[in-house]
């Protein structure tokens, strides 16, 4: 166990940028430079933790002993580092994209936007590096609040009602379910520290264990499990970079990651297996996967279709973890990274289309491949990754998930995964087909390539390229996922 202040610095790097962003509000170029510097420093700090963790170590830092057995403390392990690497590397890409998008549309209040984005990233890394449930809850709530002004950025009636929905689900669930569940856990065990063997074993009755588990699973509503999912489509009212980084990567995966910590750190594999609770959660997730995919089929708004796709894909991760088999859990953890690169690509493409043409609906995008060939190429790669087809990273995580189902002895869940992949193909590929192979609806599109500002369409190409690279070289994510899972199974 290593003690170092680096994890804290990695969390604070983006928070420290906020005063500078505010000070430089009159000079947009200098202001955005601050974001890039902070993002660069953050990624370097996170990456600097990699050697220690890959060597099998953990890095710790305690800020304050606020509650006995539940200090405000950070600890970096393989799971946390995997998530932190994904979020902090994608923040850089998203920042470039934000500039293209926000300036391309001449959005108001850009200073506020970049401020809260930075705060949200701090909270995300905080969740990834939390050493115990209390610290995680702190950063979880910080993220909920920091995202509110981003979701409601447009400050119109639609933003207002979406903001309400967002708060109602996210904060309502966390206060009404997750908070009491956390306090009951503490009351029973006297600690909240994540431990590879769990802390609840032998401390609660089977019924209590089941009730608490579902209080946590639904209490962390950011994971978007049905029926606490409907804030996510509503949150699509936000500017697209927010949807891309926060509602495809950071916020939603904080929800999933919280459930990961509950399953691995609070309950432990043995307790869940003993009580058969893993399968219960897996089936709740399976239900979400299928229903969300079916709803996605019928959405015409591109961002809404992506949102329902995200809801389904998040439950893949939950399902993988709930399988409690080494391969399945590896696949689940890996899917955090693979889905992130794929889905952020798709969202950024949707935003690029909106910036260049003002179109939001799929039915209006017929033939857009003539006008935006590169953007749609990125879209295709992103789609393949989310569907889980080679040669993209998504294939690897889904491969592990499928193996995990077999390892857990559940063919039924394997069928769910396969059916869902077919559904994913059914709601993504027609978009690509329409774009390239049908005559353009707008005469101007036939005239040739015009993809709008480069800052809006290059970033999705970059992340699409990453998705391709990850198929051939899925490190360090695969290694981290395998290490983390090996630890759970006493490796």
């Amino acid at each position: 166990m290593l003690h170092s202040i680096t994890p804290l610095l990695a969390v604070l790097a983006s928070l420290a940028a906020v005063p500078f962003i505010i000070l430089l509000k009159g000079r947009p170029n200098a202001r955005e430079a601050v974001t890039f510097i902070a993002a660069g420093i953050k990624l370097i700090l996170v990456a600097s933790l990699l050697p220690a963790v890959l060597a099998g170590g953990e890095v710790e830092f305690t800020l304050a002993k606020v509650l006995p057995g539940a200090p405000l403390a950070l600890r970096v392990d393989a799971f946390g580092l995997l998530f932190a690497l994904v979020s902090s590397s994608l923040w850089i890409v998203t920042s470039a994209y934000s500039i293209g998008y926000m300036r391309g549309l001449d959005e108001h209040s850009q200073t506020r936007y970049f401020c809260f984005f930075a705060v949200a990233l701090s909270a995300t890394i905080g969740v990834a590096f939390s050493a115990n449930l209390f610290t995680m809850y702190l950063f979880y709530e910080m993220l909920s609040l920091a995202t509110y002004p981003l979701v409601t950025h447009h400050q119109d009636a639609e933003a207002r009602s979406s903001g309400r929905k967002y708060l109602f689900y996210i904060m309502g669930a966390s206060i009404a379910l997750a908070l009491p569940a956390m306090i009951i856990t503490y009351q029973q065990t006297g600690t909240l520290a994540f431990s590879p063997t769990g802390i609840l074993a032998g401390k609660v009755s089977p019924v209590m264990a089941g009730v608490l588990l579902f209080m946590f699973v639904f209490g962390f509503a950011k994971a978007g499990i049905i029926p606490v999912h409907s804030w996510l489509p509503a949150a699509m009212v936000a500017p697209t970079p927010v949807s891309a980084l926060l509602h495809a990567v950071a916020v939603v995966k904080v929800g999933v990651f919280s459930i990961l910590r509950i399953i691995t750190g609070i309950y432990g594999v043995d307790l869940l297996k003993g009580l058969d609770l893993g399968m219960a959660v897996a089936w709740v997730a399976a239900f979400t996967i299928i229903v969300a995919s079916l709803i996605a089929l019928s959405q015409d708004g591109l961002k809404r279709r992506l949102a329902f796709s995200t809801i389904g894909q998040l439950s893949y991760i939950v399902l993988g973890l709930a399988l409690l088999s080494p391969k399945g859990m590896t696949g689940g953890a890996l899917h955090i990274a693979m889905h992130a690169f794929g889905k952020i690509t798709l969202f950024m493409c949707a935003g690029a289309i909106f910036v260049a043409t003002g179109k939001k609906n799929i039915s209006q995008m017929t033939g857009i491949g003539k006008r935006m060939p590169w953007t749609m190429a990125a879209f295709l790669v992103g789609s393949l990754s989310v569907i889980g087809l080679p040669p993209t990273g998504g294939f690897i995580s889904k491969w592990y998930l499928a193996l995990g189902c077999l390892q857990a002895g559940s063919v039924a869940l394997l069928v769910v995964l396969l059916v869902s992949s077919l559904l994913n193909a059914a709601y993504f590929l027609p978009i690509v087909y329409r774009a390239y192979f049908k005559p353009p609806v707008e005469a101007a599109w036939a005239e040739g390539r015009n993809e709008g500002p480069a800052a809006a369409w290059v970033p999705p190409l970059v992340t699409a390229a990453c998705s391709l690279v990850l198929f051939f070289y899925p490190q360090p994510f695969l290694r981290l996922a395998q290490m983390a899972v090996a630890q759970l199974f006493g490796g």
């Binding site: 800020l63 304050a64 002993k65 606020v66 509650l67 006995p68 200090p71 405000l72 209390f134 809850y137 702190l138 709530e141 910080m142 609040l145 002004p149 409601t152 400050q155 119109d156 933003a159 207002r160 903001g163 309400r164 708060l167 904060m171 309502g172 206060i175 009404a176 908070l179 009491p180 306090i183 009951i184 503490y186 009351q187």
Partner: protein
Amino acid sequence: MSEQYPALIVITPLLAALLVSAAGWLRPRLCFPLALAGLGAAAAAATGLLVQVLATGPVTYRLGGWEPPWGIAYYVDNLNAVVAALVAWVALFNLVASYRAVMTDYPEKIGPYYTLYVLAVTGMLGMVVTGDAFNLYVLLEITSLTGYALIGLGGGRAPLASLNYLFLGTIGASFYLLGVGYLYIVTGSLNMADLAKLLTPLYGSLALLAAFAITLVGLWMKMAFFPLHAWLPNAYGFAPAPTASLLAPLMTKVMVYVMIRIMISVFTVEFVLQEVLVGQLVVWLAVAAMVAGALFALGQRDLKRMLAYIVVAEVGYMVGGAWLGNRLGMTGAVLHLINDAVMTFCVFLAAGCIYQKTRGTSFEDLRGLFKKMPWTMAALAAGAMAIIGVPPTGGFFSKWYLIRGGLEAGHWGFVGALLFSSLINVVLFFRVFEIAFFEPSGGDDSHGGHGGHEEHGGAVALAEAPLSMLLPLMAAALGLIALGLATGPLVQKLILPIIPAGLG
């Protein structure tokens, strides 16, 4: 010098009040500096006393050297040392913030205002440090009488609200006096430590039970414990802004302190909690206070009145915690007393800043405030987070202990009410934020107040409160986070040592 701290805490502001009063006739400009010096000295003495008590244990001070139980004794342990420091510092910060507001609103009453202000604080500090049950009554009346006047200074319905408060407050104080009278009849003593000794053989006597019950009812009236809260929303809602941000955070908290003191130092917790059913009943009343406070707050269309009803709910938190009958609950109650004083101060002071610029605190006046007053709104948001109970603000941690206390007592109603109240607080504050965020301000000068064109007149969009108000507000907001991070030592070093052993 340091052995005189307990007396200095009360004497310096008392003398300052006299000087301020004199200065009001001769040199009104001197009123504010004199008040500042008096309360500053009191805050310094209170801080010194807290450090001393933490280092060397409880202090007993004999006023004029008279032996207790005949003379008046001040008795200070961890509990009242921290409450005294809290009262002194909040009053001091609020005094600084009140400077501009009093100048704008009561330019011809500066002398009387500050005299009353300093006297009210003197009374509160005295109630906290005194170890004499009757002396406490006298100081309670000092604070109450000055409080009525401070509230009555407000415009509109304030005098009527003050009169209502006067009637109910007097009844409450009389009940307290009656209870103390009973105690005097059965023991012949008024000194708390002496009473505690003399009462031991008398437990089981009906007169004692009556004395306890009557005292409690009196205190509940003064702290606005549901259903005896009716005076509070109007009194604090219509009070002048600097009065509201003095009395709302401190008065109820001092009364909760007195209740806890009576429960653990005059009586014993074994006696207080002997009837489990009574304890349960009080906790259910607290549940009613939380739920009713939250629901009434939902019905308000004015920021200050909404905050006043939140105070009613918060009193329920503390009384309920104290009566749960276990260490966790009592810890939560004391911790919440500390946190709540700061968070109530923060939000009421933010409301004061808003009033200073918009001349109103109704929801319509809040439009576009995130643009106009970003710092004030940020502080209001920090206070709101504490009241909702979001970590790392102090409000989260006191709620944490209270909920644990409820769980340990198996009182699910209390736990449920705490969570319910948190959820309603989310609704309450985000409704305010929505108005301030989404609705553009309609015509900046439509209120035609005389405070609108001060030094910040240059900037069109930004119209922040003066720095003398903003700095104390920022201190309160940051204090909330500091208190939260200091929860560990606060509980371990300060609160746990004073929880009586009788609590399971």
